[in-house]
């Protein structure tokens, strides 16, 4: 054995990880070497104090709380998704009405209104309007999902 026992040997001695022969050799050295005996005692003091501390225990209530959080996350997502889908359905329906020019005055009025609202009074194609609104209806729920994950 070298002049002094290593921290690793002392640690393994405390944990009962040394072989019988190694344990005897280390113990014999400790008894005859005051500095190593002091290091050994200091380690024992630290380990003893730590082992008196109660261990953190996973309780059944923790599992129930976790499930509660899972379900709340699901509810948090459901409302914005449902709202976005409803809006998308309404927009698509309106878009179809606009496209199908079958004597619906409302559709023509909507088109005229959109045309006057557009910058420079450019004519607004109903298919382009539907495409833009459809894109918003798709991106909206995706953004909602992404933002929820960031919470």
């Amino acid at each position: 054995m070298s002049e002094h026992v290593s921290d690793s040997q002392l640690s393994m001695l405390i944990d009962g990880e040394l072989s019988v022969a190694a344990r005897a050799a280390v113990a014999a050295h400790i008894h005859s070497c005051p500095p190593c005996a002091e290091r050994h005692d200091a380690l024992i003091a630290v380990v003893s104090s730590l082992r008196l501390e109660p261990a953190a225990q996973w309780q059944a209530g923790a599992t129930a709380r976790l499930l509660g959080r899972l379900r709340r996350r699901g509810h948090d997502l459901a409302l914005p998704i449902a709202a976005a889908l409803a809006i998308a359905a309404a927009v698509l329906s309106t878009g179809h009405l606009v496209v199908i020019r079958a004597g619906f005055t409302l559709a023509h009025t909507a088109l005229d209104t959109l045309a006057t609202l557009a910058p420079g009074h450019l004519s607004v194609q109903p298919s382009a309007t539907v495409a833009v609104l459809f894109a918003v209806a798709i991106v909206g729920p995706l953004l909602s999902l992404r933002l929820s994950k960031w919470r």
Partner: protein
């Protein structure tokens, strides 16, 4: 209470016989379970199946989280975050490794992320119950609590891997093999980490 007397006070606590006494704290035990079926069900959104996995792995996950945070309340919050992340990411688990390997890696990464954001704030378990502040020494219990608090404060200064190994071994009572699995390192590395951590704590409280 000077730091030197901390060790002297600790020496008065019940001593372990290093030759004859082995660690007898309960280590994590895993119930018999068809894990593959449970994981597959959980991937399809079965919350009850996921709850079974949580019940099985809650203790080791909480152990590594507590060994990282040194605070029981923070540890439970972190463990819950780990399981929530596991629930969200479960569909990406392809079964290339054991579910425990995947879950433990997730937990390690969360502990690392947290340690980068927040320094460990050691708070002993009994301090949560509104114990009186540690003031002047009035009873042997106070001496022990001061000692434990000083040791935890020293452990908080260790690097995360050393701190985890130390707490997992000496507080949570895990075996070297269990710690090696949680930290995904060889057993020899676990031994080295524990030895270095204990020596580091001794050096800190002896200054």
């Amino acid at each position: 209470m000077n730091r030197r007397s901390i060790l002297e006070a600790a020496a008065g606590t019940p001593r372990l016989d290093p030759v004859t006494r082995r660690l007898d704290q309960p280590t994590t035990r895993r119930a018999t379970l068809d894990e593959t079926v449970a994981v597959a069900k959980a991937q399809r959104g079965d919350e009850q199946a996921f709850a079974e996995l949580v019940a099985r792995y809650g203790q080791p996950i909480l152990s590594i989280c507590y060994a990282s945070t040194l605070d029981a309340a923070d540890a439970e919050d972190l463990a819950q975050d780990v399981f929530l992340a596991a629930w969200r990411g479960l569909r990406r688990f392809r079964g290339d490794s054991a579910f425990s390997t995947w879950l433990f890696a997730l937990a390690r990464n969360r502990c690392i992320d947290r340690s980068r954001r927040v320094a460990a704030r050691p708070r002993l378990m009994y301090e949560r119950e509104g114990d009186r502040e540690l003031g002047t020494l009035t009873s042997p219990d106070d001496s022990g609590r001061r000692t434990a608090a000083a040791i935890f404060a020293a452990a908080a200064k260790l690097s995360l891997p050393l701190r985890q190994a130390l707490l997992l071994r000496d507080v949570q009572g895990l075996s070297y093999e269990e710690i090696a699995e949680l930290q995904a390192v060889p057993i020899g590395t676990v031994r080295s980490r524990i030895a270095a951590a204990r020596a580091g704590v001794v050096a800190e409280v002896s200054e």
